[in-house]
Point group: C2
Chain length 96, copies 2
């Protein structure tokens, strides 16, 4: 499945900065970063369940927000992009 994961982590405290690094690390393990807090993820249902559980564990639910959009198959191959390019193959190997 193709997913888009976006997040806002409150980073005014050192704890928040730690949470941000943790959230980014989890997302990096499952997908490709396309913007500072936007990841494109191509994975199986079981991986998604694992990723969501890890993210749930990493955030402070009173301060942080994560949104997961389920996209139609191959929607990630057809994204309109303006400005600075960041060419990635959403189905390419992950750099972990």
């Amino acid at each position: 499945m193709d997913l888009l994961v976006t997040y806002d982590v409150e980073t005014v405290t050192p704890q928040g900065q730690r949470r941000l690094r943790k959230v980014a690390k989890i997302c990096e393990a499952y997908g490709h970063r396309v913007q500072k807090s936007v990841f494109e993820v191509v994975c199986r249902e079981t991986d998604k369940v694992r990723m969501v559980a890890a993210l749930q564990e990493a955030i402070d639910p009173t301060q942080d927000s994560i949104r997961i959009y389920r996209l139609p198959t191959h929607a990630l191959d057809d994204v309109e992009h303006l400005g600075k390019p960041r060419l990635i193959d959403p189905r390419g190997a992950l750099v972990i």
Copy 2:
């Protein structure tokens, strides 16, 4: 159509901060902010063309990045959300 607009604007300079405000203002005219740099947009094709033209004009293409994901109809009604809720109706009236 349902769109998701995400952006990264380089804000190290006052010019960048101005561009960021401009990009946010354009997005606010077309959709609902769900995270700091993520907007959900429900609009017609003609509005999308106008929005893209305005965004194109607002950014510095060598430094900023905007991504526009076209989602299946009503995908915005079924987004997985973790943490701090920001309850919005993606089809609701815009606050401009």
